[in-house]
Symmetry: C2
Subunit: 273 residues, 2 copies
């Protein structure tokens, strides 16, 4: 059949010619928490954490999953994570970045569902009391040995871990195929999303300023360095860290006090108006 114009074509178009599917979005929300250290001066240490939701319906009832939901038929894809984030944390104007779209045929037992994952970075201090009741923050510990990554999750009440094997895809880049080899507690393929998010964050923290999305307005260089350290999973040398970070922050005349050791200057992010 021949059409004379685009309008004519669209009028005759049957949208059900191809079988259709559903689209969801899942968000890995990163933040940092303070944890008491067991030294005699009760200092605190930064921990790296994500928000998980306990499922109370099938499928994967009672397992944990990332916050997320269906993308509305009249909703732009990128508006969906904004909506989810608002519902889940009551926060707006949050750093959001699309990660990856997962589309294996059987990734959801209900039907064919595609999921586009996002990562969000938030400063927990901006978090008002309201966080939805099934959600909780899990501290993360990451361990990698022989291309097997073990991620330990702990929300204070429950703790568990999962393991993913990284298989090099090709010799020209360091891209990996991720294969879940142990996972009792996370729904869907969310273990994969979590690892992808961690790796993206680890990578980007080195050459961008995204880390400041997780920091309060005023912070010490020690705190900032700790955040880099927990995300990168390694210790950094003070002078080198300060040399690099110097260009990105501004020293204020405010100082900490009552910390059990020498007070430090508070800094702000330079580009934050």
């Amino acid at each position: 059949m021949e059409y004379k114009s685009e309008e004519e074509f669209l009028k005759a178009y049957n949208p059900n010619e191809f079988e259709r599917l559903s689209l969801t979005t899942d968000i890995i929300i990163f933040s940092v928490s303070d944890e008491q250290v067991a030294n005699y001066r009760k200092t605190s240490k930064k921990r790296f954490s994500i928000l998980l939701v306990k499922r109370n319906t099938y499928p994967f009832k009672d397992k944990y999953c990332l916050p997320g939901g269906f993308v509305g038929i009249n909703e732009n894809l990128e508006d969906a994570p904004i909506r989810v984030l608002k519902n889940e944390t009551n926060l707006q104007n949050i750093y959001l970045e699309q990660l990856y779209t997962y589309g294996d045929v059987h990734r959801d037992p209900r039907m064919r569902i595609i999921s586009t994952s996002y990562m969000a970075l938030i400063d927990k201090n901006k978090l008002n009391e309201k966080i939805s009741k099934d959600a909780s923050w899990f501290n993360l510990d990451i361990e990698e040995k022989n291309n097997i990554v073990t991620i330990y999750l702990d929300n204070g009440k429950e703790h568990f871990s999962f393991k993913i094997k990284k298989i090099l895809k090709e010799l020209t880049t360091d891209r990996y195929k991720y294969e879940i080899i142990e996972n009792e507690h996370l729904a869907f393929d969310h273990a994969l999303v979590i690892l992808a998010g961690i790796e993206r964050l680890k990578n980007k923290i080195e050459y961008t300023d995204i880390v400041f999305n997780m920091m309060p307005k005023y912070f010490t260089l020690g705190e900032l360095q700790q955040v880099y350290e927990v995300i990168l999973g390694k210790k950094l040398l003070d002078p080198a860290f300060r040399r690099i970070i110097e260009k990105k922050v501004l020293k204020t005349d405010k100082m900490t006090s009552g910390e059990g050791h020498r007070p430090s200057y508070l800094y702000i992010y330079k580009n934050k108006e």
Copy 2:
């Protein structure tokens, strides 16, 4: 309603509870071409090129678009670009990388269609005669001034350009919102996909070995340097380039000849089996 088990839940599940949509995939296929230089010694120069298809049906009839198509209801998302690539170029085992998923409500005038874009890197020398008849290679020229990118496309018969404005999204990273400000010849939002692909490639060529996916088995360092130069859009200094690339290649005892100037050694990629 309460279910006793996951099986029971799935049996009762109605997949049409949410309105459904369609998923397509678009692929930006990058390669390099040789172009005659108008000097009296007929030397050749590398050009950077992509494959575009002229649409012969509505919507966007007679405009150019990226190769692509619908993802089958029983096809894994990542298998779709492999299939498209096989159809379009008859090539298999190609470097493919997911770029971004586009999901604005009105990005397709027919209906709600989500599109996951991929980029592919190929070595044109592996290309046998068969390339589908509506497809052609366009050489690319990229120009950036005041955050407005102009991309010039030329397939030997037709040439045109499009302009995209880059608007900084936030201060903490160099992520941009892309806005098409001039585009007469490309269908859908494919101008955005092309720019996203170029920027991803530009970025990755600096810290990975992906460029070798576009190179033949044997190449000279001069050719390789030219490929880096056309992709990065700038000249590189010979000694610095050689210092870096030395670690990635192996010198063979083969040499070029008949080039109108001093012959050069041929190299192979080190990690290629």
